[in-house]
Structures are given as C-alpha cells and as structure tokens.
Symmetry: C2
C-alpha cells in the first residue's frame, strides 16, 4: 500500500492512496483525513485502507484520478518526531578520517543519532531556500521508517514489528555550520534545516524480501544537475539495522505513532558506488589530494534522489529539488 | 488568558479556558478542539477565545465547571517542536567548573540549544517512570514559550512578537547518560526523556510588566519531597533572552506554530537561591568538598515546581510528579 499527502492549503494536507505504479490516486477522507490521523489509529483503519487500495489497484474506484507527485507535500508535512541515526559507518569513518580523528570503538556498538527538527518537512519538489550559500548547502540521500507507537524499553524486534511505512529522505545539511554546532555537543539546530521527503510512503509488506525486518534492500540513485553521482545499495554496509536504531531511540522513552526514524546518509564501500552527499565526495578528495574540490550546492542547482526495486521500478517516486539562495 | 488541555482519552485532549485564579474552566470545542488547533489559526480564534475567557472570568458561562489540575495533560500533549536553550549561564559555568573545563568565550554569544523529543510530553501530575534509577533521574525547573509561526531568519524582535504563551517545564534529565551522549556531539536522545508541563499555558499579556518582551520575571519555587530547595527568580541571570533564543532557532529555518522554546534550567547566582536541578547542587558539592553528596531521584520521591507572580499568586498551577522506578 502506498500513501501520499496532497496539498489542500492546510498545514497537514489530505491523505491519498496511490497505486503501486504511482499512476492513479484517490482521496480517503472517509477513512482518515491525514496520514498522522491514520497512524494515530492504524489498527482501526488499516484494513479499510487496504481494501480501498485493492479497489484502486483494480481500477474499481470512480473517484480515482491521475497521481501527480507535484501535488505532494511530505507524507507527514509536520511530524512529532524526526530521529535520525547514522547507520552507514563508512560515512562516519570518512568524516573522521578526513579530519584526522580516530574512530572511537563505541561507535561500532552505540549508534550516532540526533533529534531533528520536525515542525516543517518539505515536499518532494519544494525548493531548498537559504539566505547564504556560504553555509555549505548539501543533500543526504537516505531512507527512513515511520513508526507506530513503541513503549519505552522496546526491543529491536519490537522496533521492527512496530514499523509501519518507509519513506525516502533528503536530509538537507548546512555543512559549514556543522563543526561549530557539533563542538557544542548539543546536536544540530541551525545546521540541519527542514528535510525533504518522497512523494509516497510505502507499507513494509510491499517490499517482499527487500525488507528483511531489519534493513531495506533497494537501489538508491542520486543525481546532481542531471548527472548521476550515486548508485547506492541501501542494504549494504548498514552497520546498525532499523531495528537497532528503534531500540536505541526507545531505551529510556517511548516513541509516538508517526515518529520518523532515519538511518542516515546511505554510504557504500563498493568501488563505483559514488556518493549520497557532497560532503563524502569532498572527504575522499581531501584523503586523496589534500583538499576538497567539489563545491557545495549553489543557487539554481538541482538534486534528484530516487529508489528502485529489483525490477527497476521506482518505489517512492523521486525527490527533485532546486536550490534557491535568497537573502531575507 | 489561561488555557489548558483536559484528558478525554484522545492523544491531544480537549482545550479548555481557565480563570486567572485557576478555579473554573470551560470547554471551547466550538472555537478550537485542541491547543494545537488554536495555535494553527491563532489570528482567527484569538478574539473569540478572549471574549469567552472574559465571560468565564465574569461568571457568565453556564457550562463552566471547577478546574482540576489533575485532569490536565501537558498544554500540548505532543508538539511538533521542543527546542531548549541554556540561557542561564550560571548553570553552564557550574557544569564546566565541576569537571575542570574552561568556559569557551563563544558560549557568551552563541547559546547552547538542543532539539528535544516532543512526541510525548507529560502532564503536570504524570509519574516519571524509568527502568533504572542508576540513569541518574533529575528534574530541571524552567520556563518555555509557545511560539506562533516564525519565518527563517526571524530577528530577535520578531521572535519576541511571535510568542503566544508561556508554560512551566520540568525538563526531566537522566544525568548519568548525559556525558556519553554529549561526547558524541549529536545532542540528547536517551538522556532527555519526556519533559513535563504545567497545568495551564498563559498568554503573555497576562504578565503585565513581568514580561518585558525578552524575559519573564517570576518567582520560581522548587520542592523535593516537600522540602523547598529552590527559590529562583526567572528574570535574573538570564544571559540570553527568549528573543535571542528564538532568533538563534530561526537562523536557517522557520519555526511552526506550537513550537515550544525553552530557556533551560533557571539558575541564579544570588546566595540562598538554591537550585532548580539536583545536578547543580551536586556540582556545588564537588566544588566545595571534592565530591557530590546529594543523590539523584529514587523511586517514590516527589518533585514540585511552581511559579508565582509579584502578588504571590500561582501563575501556571504546579507541576507535581512522583518518580516510579519500574524495570520493564
């Protein structure tokens, strides 16, 4: 089952069901008006949504209309929680190596995770608007799960079972603001502005064997200005599973339905995989030639992020964004 | 105008208006069902709410009933953002001094602020439930503002003008988990579980001169097991104003209506002020005698936090919580 949130002028938009091939959609306000409302009472609405989705797939709904990704807000245009882990340690290792820092052994058993801002989440085609390109505007291609309610102390297995949906994320980062914020120890406030999300969110059963209860095995492609820079595999090199990350998040506290749990920039060790964020390319340049050459994003540049299943079909639709540098 | 959220079995509760003396309340579902709904369209509902509040105050509403703080959830039982600054530098200086670390000069111009979990916020009488007292359960008495929509790049003055309400907070902290999380640089995930909030939220006009557009000047009292341990003044020693903190939060991104902006544990330099969190008492003990003597909270202990205006009247009602240590 694929779900999206259509713009309707409101803050939370309108929930729609979308066909597997992303060609048709239908409003389901009689079941749930918004995705958060559906997640709030998932057990009560899931069956109705699935029945309606099957009708949509079979072409039986008179109210169906052509699906347009450009009409989409983020599946959750604002969320009660956005917790983002760093599951791909190749990324963390590169960051450390490029600044000459050792990799502390704890990082192999205790995941990095930050609490991100979730009050405004961007739709798949929303511009990335910033006052100053000197902040070092970067993208990060990643996957996230949308969780149901999890109790404090949830095990990894409970975390896995409690996951409802998967989404694709561009975790927008302001690289030049990160070092000073991280040095303060309190995490990211200014250096991780609003992230952008794929047109649709997908229930985990849709993935078949590509969701093994811990990891999502998808091909993740990343383009900068139309040139492909990343050919990543989201199931490879993922040191911490989504189940591990959910368990980490819930060690001392519960997580409310609608929590977005990210796994961090996908980063593969494989030669030719390319990169899911510019920072990684720059770190490789520092390690190879002593200095970063590839610039961060400037006004007018575009980013496209898309995931494909084993048959080459798009899973979530694509995130396609443009950078706008515009002093306030 | 004072507002609260009554339990009704739903996740977000029911908005009520409460009299200035916290003795009577009335449901206002015909105006807004929840506090978030009111904040989402504040300009459209404010006048109706104020008119109704005046009627309630005048005893003209047949539907009014005695207000019970025990019926209250947090004013926002879940929020889209909880950003908590550290405005009282005495606290930061003590933390640093106790561990022999210098105070970096940047901290006097660049506030510490973290993005906190906001998916579950506790009501004023909810237990603090944890699996392990060894995590170092502590309270933090602080004030927070509830903001309206602020644009990216908002100035301090815009931040001040965009604030809607003030609330009292117990920012529950797990002290023994903090050092390891801060060392990772990514902020607090496990060491800052759900915070608790006062029964009522109060519009800023209610404070008269006690809100100067930058700071709230209130007396803040803190009790542990019925013994008063803090007699703080929230307007004193507040290095960064709420306006500064709003400006910091919005440097690179907007803030959505309903954002909770905290100013951190209130901490006064004045002799006899006592403390707003146990950690501070322990740091003073380390500085004076070489080791911390006062233990963190154990099962069955109680905390009470309450703010008073210049006439000695309670402002927000009190936060009164009990610690429950209960392995899962």
């Amino acid at each position: 089952m694929k779900l999206a949130t259509y713009r309707d002028g409101s803050r939370d938009g309108q929930l729609v069901l979308v066909t597997n091939r992303l060609d048709r959609a239908v409003f389901v306000a009689d079941i749930a008006q918004t995705l958060q409302a559906a997640l709030d009472r998932w057990n009560a609405v899931e069956q109705d949504l699935r029945f309606r989705a099957a009708q949509l797939e079979a072409g039986q709904l008179a109210g169906a209309f052509p699906f347009q990704a450009s009409m989409c807000m983020a599946p959750l245009p604002r969320a009660y929680q956005w917790a983002d882990g760093s599951a791909y340690l190749n990324h963390v290792e590169l960051v450390r190596k490029a600044r000459g820092a050792a990799m502390p052994p704890e990082l192999y058993s205790d995941p990095l995770m930050y609490q991100g801002g979730s009050d405004t989440l961007l739709g798949p085609n929303d511009d990335m608007v910033f006052a100053d390109a000197a902040w070092g505007i970067d993208f990060e291609a990643e996957l996230a799960l949308v969780l149901g309610d999890l109790p404090a102390g949830a095990t990894a297995e409970e975390g896995s079972r409690g996951a409802r949906l998967a989404v694709l994320v561009n975790d927008v980062s302001l690289r030049e603001l990160i070092p000073a914020e991280l040095a303060k120890g309190f995490g990211f406030v200014q250096s991780k502005p609003a992230s952008a999300f794929s047109p649709v969110a997908v229930t985990l059963d849709e993935f078949g064997p590509a969701w093994d209860g811990e990891r999502l095995h998808l091909d993740l492609a990343v383009w900068r200005n139309g040139e492909q820079v990343g050919r990543l595999r989201s199931g490879d090199d993922m040191h911490f599973s989504f189940a591990d990350l959910a368990c980490h998040l819930c060690r001392t506290r519960s997580a409310c339905a609608g929590t977005l749990l990210g796994a961090g920039t996908v980063s593969n060790r494989r030669a030719g995989a390319g990169y899911g964020c510019i920072a990684e390319k720059r770190m490789l340049e520092i390690l190879e030639g002593g200095k970063a050459v590839t610039p961060y994003l400037q006004h007018g540049e575009t980013v496209r992020i898309e995931a494909f299943d084993s048959s080459g079909q798009t899973v979530f639709g694509s995130i396609q964004q443009r950078v706008v540098v515009q002093p306030r």
